[in-house]
């Protein structure tokens, strides 16, 4: 079995007249948490959306477990085993928390044991189970979004800036949840702006700038090298 679960080679994505991804090379190793860092507008969210088939890559190759997913439609890519939380969380506001979760459980009824585990990670969900998801706070919605992505075991989990706009206490419980998911051997691709979160969770890291991956390495190495952080990201862990 190859060590790389997801691989992008020279991927280009155009949105209308804009050339957003300009040859992205990225590999996501199995069983590790890969951070995707970069400044605003570097192309991180577009990379995730291209992987999901929400934008189609205009050139390059995308493979999941060695098989090409390029040109496939979004639903088929998801069915290959990807749980995805978009930047705007994609919560169905008119549906209850339970109904949101029910839709994410594709292979039948929700597994009780896994649900209990999720309630352990996010106790608030049990309390708001029958409430319309639209009535929850921003942090609680993010919990629903993450819970929905992990309600069933997936080969790959992709989270797009889950810490964005959350209160510090919420960020901490989210870090704890992702850490537990990671300990179970999950493969995770996590987009972040918050370097402290990246430092707390990341095994490997890819840094993007202007639609390309400009650095690939271990998170520990980047976390320890303030000069490198500053050169790649224009900020450092200490600044957060």
């Amino acid at each position: 079995m190859s060590d790389t679960l997801l691989q992008l080679q020279a991927v280009h994505t155009h949105i209308g007249p804009y050339h957003i991804l300009q040859g992205v090379d990225l590999h996501v190793p199995r069983g590790r948490l890969t951070m995707l860092l970069g400044r605003n507008g570097a192309g991180k969210s577009t990379t995730l959306r291209t992987i999901m088939g929400l934008w189609q890559a205009s050139a390059g190759e995308l493979t999941l477990e060695g098989a090409s997913i390029k040109g496939m439609n979004t639903a088929d890519i998801a069915l290959r085993g990807i749980g995805y939380v978009p930047e705007n969380m994609g919560i169905f506001s008119d549906l209850s928390v339970r109904e949101n979760m029910l839709l994410a459980a594709r292979s039948g009824p929700i597994d009780r044991q896994r649900l209990e585990w999720i309630f352990g990670l996010f106790p608030a969900l049990r309390q708001f189970w029958e409430k319309p998801a639209g009535k929850l706070s921003g942090g609680q919605k993010q919990m629903v979004a993450i819970a929905r992505a992990i309600i069933e075991k997936r080969k790959l989990y992709m989270f797009d800036e889950p810490s964005k706009g959350l209160a510090p206490v919420m960020v901490n419980s989210m870090i704890a949840a992702l850490r537990e998911l990671k300990q179970q051997g999950a493969t995770i691709l996590l987009v972040e702006q918050n370097l402290a979160v990246a430092h707390a969770l990341g095994d490997t890291v890819a840094v993007m700038d202007s639609g390309r991956v400009i650095h690939h390495g271990s998170m520990a190495e980047l976390g320890a090298d303030a000069g490198l952080q500053h050169r790649l990201l224009g900020l450092s862990v200490g600044a957060h």
Partner: protein, 326 residues
């Protein structure tokens, strides 16, 4: 303020009925008008419900939706004329059975036509509103001409069977039998839709898809397949509504669908695009207003629906029950 507005929109139907009660001078007249308004509203709801979901799910503006109404009515007319014996029999069960068969045939043909309409006319213009308006209007014109070619250019009389003619009299109150049937049938269809939308996974997918189709895709469901299903069911319901409307008016004409489209658009806009509950409330509101105003001030009756839409949109620009992300 937001909560007050939400509460007010939930009670708008009883409030309008109450306003009618105050303005209409005597109780029996009010009851007759109210039943007539509810019946009209139910029929419009049946015809409009599919269109609001079609718009909500795929952002498709189908100006040709009236085709299914007209086709349903004509198919039912042919079926009922061929069953003249059952229709003229002095036996309510036989009459209703004939109408039931006609409705089933109408829904089937309208549903099949909807399937073809989606494949041939709508599919090439996904995501292009202007083209959708032009090509679906074109589809409507072609279908009207096809009706002329098949059933002839004249409007056709569709008399109701003996058991559905006339009214039930309770003291001073006269209630037309057919209107009661329309109300009961409309309620049944609304309850069935509500159950499907709220109690089944398909229904959950439709509700989720109306709010955020892209997210439904990322969960592994093919929204297009869902859309085709909704389009076919919506067309079948429009056909069913067309039968009721034809029996209500006792005539059918090729242009009936196009004429009703104005009312249907008003209903789905004031209800909140994509919302089935909103469509139901909007349809009842239009039915009640048309009947009350028609009685109180016949001269303004024609413009009353437009006025109602203007007032509601000034108050709630997204409609009475907007879908979250729209």
């Amino acid at each position: 303020m937001q909560t007050l507005n939400n509460k007010l929109s939930q009670f708008i139907i009883p409030l309008v009925m109450l306003a009618g009660l105050i303005l209409v001078p005597n109780l029996p007249t009010w009851i007759t008008l109210t039943v007539a308004g509810l019946a009209m509203g139910m029929m419009i709801f049946i015809m409009a419900s599919g269109l609001t979901l079609v718009f909500g799910l795929m952002d498709v503006m189908n100006f040709g939706h009236g085709v299914f109404i007209a086709i349903g009515a004509f198919v039912a007319t042919s079926v009922l004329l061929s069953m003249a014996g059952w229709m003229q029999a002095e036996n309510a069960a036989l009459n209703l059975l004939a109408i039931g068969i006609a409705m089933a045939a109408a829904a089937l043909v309208a549903g099949l036509l909807g399937w073809a309409f989606e494949r041939i006319i709508i599919r090439p213009v996904y995501g292009q509103h202007l083209k959708q308006i032009l090509i679906t209007t074109g589809g409507l014109i072609i279908a009207e001409q096809l009706i002329h070619a098949i059933w002839g250019p004249e409007q056709i009389a569709l008399p109701r069977p003996a058991s559905l003619r006339g009214a039930w009299i309770f003291g001073d109150v006269a209630i037309e039998k057919f209107r009661v049937i329309a109300v009961v049938l409309g309620l049944l269809i609304f309850i069935a839709m509500w159950l499907v939308l709220n109690r089944s996974k398909i229904g959950l997918l439709v509700r989720a898809g109306v709010e955020n189709p892209e997210m439904v895709e990322t969960l592994g469901y093919k929204i297009r397949r869902l859309f085709v299903g909704v389009f076919v069911v919506g067309s079948a319901l429009a056909g069913l509504g067309g039968v009721l409307w034809g029996l209500y008016q006792e005539t059918v004409s090729a242009t009936m669908g196009a004429q009703l489209m104005v009312l249907i658009f008003i209903v789905i806009i004031i209800g909140g695009l994509g919302s089935v509950g909103g469509c139901f409330a909007g349809a009842l509101l239009i039915g009640l207003t048309a009947n009350y105003v028609g009685f109180l001030a016949p001269k303004v009756a024609l413009g009353a629906n437009i006025l109602l839409m203007v007032l509601i949109l000034l108050w709630r620009p997204q409609g009475l029950f907007p879908v979250a992300s729209r």
